[in-house]
Each structure stands twice: as structure tokens, then as C-alpha cells.
Point group: C2
Chain length 120, copies 2
């Protein structure tokens, strides 16, 4: 009889793999985690604030990624009627549920750095 590994055939694993795909497709791209991370730290930031905070991002990407995040209800956008019109971006209650994930991401990255420079 032929041995066949079929762990992925169980409904549990199918769901799990699908869930990972879902999450990654919502959080895809180079900047989403940075934007979310920044908005989780400091709440209510303007477009130019975010542009300054997030090192290396340009206006096109920031604008596009914010729209994506807003569409998925992770970030809120509120136009204020101030003298020069300003916009307040903030993390939503739902977006805040990503905090544990982002923390794991950061935690692992920090441990990785330490393991690379381990001997020093």
C-alpha cells in the first residue's frame, strides 16, 4: 500500500489554510502593516503625518493603501472642516483586533535580529 500524506485534506486544515490566505490578501503589499502599526500607536493622524511617520512611503502608495484599509473597515477616514482641510485617519475597533498579530510579527522580528547577532 502506498503511503500518502493527506493532512491537508482534513476540513480543519483546509479552513486554516484558507484563513491564512484571507488574512494575507487583506494585509498584502509592502506598507499595510506599517500603516496599521503606526495608527495603532498614535491615534488620529493626518495624511501628511503618516507620510512623515512611515519612512520611505510615497503619496501614491499611502493613498492607495489607506483606501484598501478603509474598504476593509480597518481604518477610518474623517474629513475635518479646518482652515486648510485636514483628514483624520484612525484605526477602527475592528482594525485594533490586528494588534496581537502585529505584536507577534514584531516580536518574531526582534528575536530574529537577536538570533542573527546572537554571539555578540
Amino acid at each position: 500500500m502506498k503511503k500518502k500524506a493527506v493532512i491537508n485534506d482534513t476540513p480543519v486544515c483546509q479552513v486554516r489554510m484558507q484563513a491564512i490566505s484571507d488574512t494575507m490578501s487583506i494585509l498584502s503589499g509592502k506598507w499595510k502593516f506599517h500603516i496599521l502599526g503606526t495608527l495603532i500607536e498614535g491615534d488620529k493622524l493626518g495624511f501628511m503625518d503618516l507620510l512623515r511617520e512611515i519612512d520611505g512611503i510615497g503619496t501614491k502608495m499611502l493613498s492607495k493603501e489607506l483606501q484598501d484599509l478603509e474598504m476593509n473597515h480597518l481604518v477610518s477616514r474623517k474629513v475635518m472642516d479646518t482652515k486648510p482641510i485636514t483628514v483624520e485617519y484612525a484605526i477602527t475597533e475592528y482594525g485594533a483586533t490586528l494588534a496581537p498579530l502585529i505584536n507577534e510579527l514584531a516580536k518574531w522580528g526582534i528575536a530574529y535580529r537577536e538570533s542573527v547577532h546572537g554571539g555578540e
Copy 2:
């Protein structure tokens, strides 16, 4: 005086953002999480096993991503001298430290599905 949000200027945040970049660059691409997730569930899988388990992946991508993961010590590769040569891929001890992150990813994705179909 001009109000400037400078939350990202603190060393803590710099490190945090850098850590997120590090993690995401190591785990970049469409397939890394799927491969790691599969290897965390079932240990010791052959190339063809993985090809069957991971729905949609092709040989080129699987081969390339496995090399990346091996280079970063997240996955081990052992050539067995069986009749038709086989290769055993397994998660390393270090790779297993990604389990909490992958669990968060899966957990959030499952919750997301539920929130979308919330009313039903």
C-alpha cells in the same frame, strides 16, 4: 507652534517597524506561510507530498520557496537514500517559533470570515 506627530521617532517604534519589515521580508511571497503551516502540521514531507498538500502551487515556486526557507533555517532538507531518491522536508526547531504567528494569522482570518457572514 506647529503640532507634529512624531511617535515614530522614538527608538522603540523604529525598532518595532524594522522588526516588522524583517519578518515580512523573510516570509514574503504567496506561499511561505502555506508551506510552513503545512510542515508544522505534518512533519517530514516529501517534495511531491507538499506539491499535493498545497493547493495551487507549482514545482518552480515550491522549489524556490523551500530554498529560501532552508537558507533562513526555518526548514530542513534531508536527502534519503531510498530506491527512488526521496527528500524529507521538515520544520526546524527555529521554524517552529513561527507557530504563534501563524496561529494568529489563521485565527484572525477565521474571525474575519465570521464577521463577513456575521448575520447568517
